[in-house]
Amino acid sequence: MSDPILCARIHALEEQLTVVENSPKWLETMPFRTTEIGEELHDGLDGTFGTKARQEKLELQAILNELRAAERGSADDAAAAIRAGWERYLRVQQESQEIFSECLQFLGGVAIRNEGFEQILDNQIWEVADELIRSCARESTGYPWTSLTVPAPEEAVAKTLARMIRLRFPDWNVWTIPLAAREYGHVVAEDVAGLVAFIDREVEDLVRGRLEEIVAIELATHVLHNPLSEDDERALRATLMASAEDAAEHLERPPGRLVQVQTADEELDARVRDYVADTASRERERLHILVADVFATYSMGIAYAAPAILLRFGPGRRTREDVVSDAERGEVVLAMLDRMDREATGSPYRALLDRLREDWSWVLDHVPTTHGFRADDGYSAVFVDKVWAIFDAHLRTTARYPHDADSEGWLSVRKVQLAWQASHKASGEFTTTDLELRKLRDALNAAWAWRLENPADEQTVKRLENAVTEICRGLVADGRRAGGRRRRTGQRASGPARRT
């Protein structure tokens, strides 16, 4: 006995997975300006989408094999195999849907990048973003990053399968490019062992602290419709508490938010368990977003904090329903910048930090904000201290934005400031030569520092933007030449070097 509909669905899904498995071939029809990127990307895609698609296809093959084997057994065996086959197929189908969605977003994004839109987009901005993330990866985790930055409708809430970095559509220029570092923060949050364990612990603590509340809410709703004696209510509370604790003991650990099931018609015990899982899932998502924000600040400094607070965060805007508010995100960003300033000699960021904090506080005090999400209890500072210790232990020393290095970091930003002040005073322009900038993040920090310290009209900001864009393009071209030399001489970029 076979189930033709199940077999047909399995074959159809296999075919779709094959399309995704072959997705690297699409890149051949979308030639990249630099061949090296195309090759790396091809391999990267094959290792992510390709591997995942092959795994799912193997599972589908296993289902088919078991169905065939069961056909040789009794009718009961065959029926049981069909039932199990459907369950497994539906699971694979759900997992595959996530791969399909991401694959299309990736390929669609690549198509937009390759389309050109010459009159509208500065296409080199993509290469600037790619290089920024590549160096961010090199300097923080030491892991090579072989994906691409692509346009996306919203910021990521978790690491994507292909580690693609999303740039929010259509917000692409040198002022917002530093925000891409936050997207890499999701990769860091999921790939760095210390952070994974930290998030697990925090989620568990936060959920355990809410178990009584969860049980009380569900119990109160239940009792409203099903009156109980005091003893029965006490007994039910104890049973539900045990279920809640058991659920907290066995939390799933997906990177993003769990798909919420509808629990209205389920039993009370199932509702409590779902509530616990949902709470954990929300806290996990919130922590991922906060970790990504503090990572981006840690690695980019003012260049991340300024656009996040001035251009991106809106106090009443919630991210993904009510998981985390921008008010809280703003606080952790400022707390991280504060910690970086205190760790450095000479308080390099204090003036700009005070400026940002004053502006942000005024906005929070005067603009309707998400109620209950401001961390008045100092959680942000505690959170940042905990994450700081993990960054310190698990990331490369080069991850933190340097404040006292000779040839890069904040000192080089200050030198650029002086050069720009002189050129701007003399001609109204921003010089792009003889600045001795070596890193993209320094150029972006210089741009934001100047903008914060010298409030200017729109035209001046535009002139500064053009100058910084030119500098960034030059740095990307230099990096490409250096990369080419490294490849020719067989040298590798520096690998992981962690603090002990």
Partner: protein, 400 residues
């Protein structure tokens, strides 16, 4: 006093740039359609983008005059909240269009366009848009564009496009009365509001529409290819339970079979599909309950709603909008020929009779597949080639 005026202006200017850039990108995206089709789709986006730009300009003027109050911030946030889905929709449009342009759809979008043009002509519901790829099938009201699901670009999923077309068709139906033009589907949705959630009525209408206009092919696709029997009786927020939808689809086929001028060609598919769905439920351990779970609606309520939707279509669509017994006969004859070609395995194509429609080929494909599942791959190739030959140009199949 902090420089909040500067923060607010920065955000206003950034959003203004984003709106302008989005408009330019949409105008510049290469689309393989004539200018009128393109303008209709992009024009809808431009209208919405323009409205937000005007509001933004008004806030900017206020802020420039020193009005840095909570109201200005709130107004900006309102626009930002509205533009988020608008940008997402614009990006999906750009990506989908470019994915189609780059051949990621394996040519399916063109076939869907042709099928929908055909349905549009038969039903009298003018569409004049196009389809693009997306991560799920849906109809997006912003520019009336239908999305088809990547990477499911096989001919077996063609009937789902008729369901999405139904989402466009419902609100597009109009009647002239002494009081002026009315929208009978909207009236029906309001009338059913106490018993049925509006999104569920929309979904059931789209199911009834797809079945009414495309016949058993849509029913085969739902039962054999799409619906999840393990969640048969679970309503979702936007979709009624699969069991309700199957009931609506089979009920529609049964109504077509009962029409006076329709011979009994429909009886066999209806019976076989009902039996197949019952088997699926049994495998999933889902015994059919006396009432539908997940809501208060019973079978009686559902039958009444399906009848109302059916009657609405019969009244509003052109008579040939219904996929009647005569068309089904054409499909059944073609199914035999396709099945024989598939068994020969030489990719030879049967000759298409005069007046054949894409809808006939799609029905023939499902009928042939239903008779012999083992032939699915061969049938898929033959049917794709037949569709191509009818539409007029071969699909690029290099990557398959």
């Amino acid at each position: 006093m902090p420089d909040t005026q500067n923060i607010l202006l920065s955000q206003i200017e950034a959003l203004g740039r984003e709106l302008a850039r989005t408009g330019s990108l949409l105008n510049d995206v290469p689309l393989p359609f004539d200018a009128a089709v393109r303008d209709r789709a992009v024009g809808e986006f431009e209208k919405l983008l323009g409205r937000e730009q005007s509001e933004l300009a008004a806030i900017r003027a206020r802020v420039m005059e020193g009005d840095v109050t909570a109201e200005s911030w709130t107004a900006l946030q309102r626009i930002a909240a509205r533009t988020t889905p608008l940008f997402a929709e614009s990006l999906a449009f750009l990506e989908g269009a470019l994915a189609r342009e780059n051949g990621l759809d394996d040519g399916l979008c063109r076939l869907v366009d042709s099928l929908l043009d055909e349905l549009s002509t038969r039903t009298g519901v003018m569409w004049e848009r196009f389809t693009i790829l997306a991560d799920g099938e849906f109809f997006a009201g912003t520019a009336d564009i239908i999305r088809i699901r990547f990477p499911d670009t096989s001919v077996w999923s063609l009937p789902v496009a008729a369901h999405e077309f139904g989402h466009f068709a419902g609100p597009a139906l109009t009647s002239s009365t002494s009081a002026g033009t009315v929208h009978p589907f909207e009236i029906l949705v309001q009338r059913e509001a106490p018993a049925w959630k509006a999104p569920h009525v929309h979904e059931l209408f789209a199911d009834v529409f797809a079945t009414y206009t495309l016949g058993p092919a849509y029913a085969f696709t739902c039962v054999a290819g799409r619906f999840d029997p393990s969640r048969a009786y679970l309503d979702a927020i936007g979709h009624p339970a699969p069991a309700k939808r199957v009931h609506a689809v089979l009920g529609t086929l049964a109504r077509i079979a009962q029409e006076e001028d329709q011979a009994g060609g429909y009886q066999a598919p209806v019976g076989e599909l009902a039996e197949a769905w019952t088997s699926l439920l049994a495998v999933g351990g889902q015994a059919e309950p006396p009432e539908y779970a997940g809501g208060s609606a019973t079978i009686v309520d559902l039958d009444r709603l399906v009848d109302a939707l059916y009657d609405l279509l019969k009244e509003q669509l052109r008579p040939r909008g219904m996929y009647g017994a005569e068309r089904l006969l054409t499909a059944q004859q073609l199914a035999g020929a396709i099945g024989r070609s598939a068994q020969l395995g030489d990719r030879s194509l049967p000759e298409l009779p005069d007046g054949v429609l894409l809808a006939d080929i799609v029905n023939a494909a499902w009928l042939a597949r239903w008779r012999n599942w083992e032939l699915t791959p061969e049938l898929g190739h033959i049917v794709a080639d037949l569709c191509d030959s009818l539409v007029g140009a071969p699909r690029a199949r290099a990557r398959r």
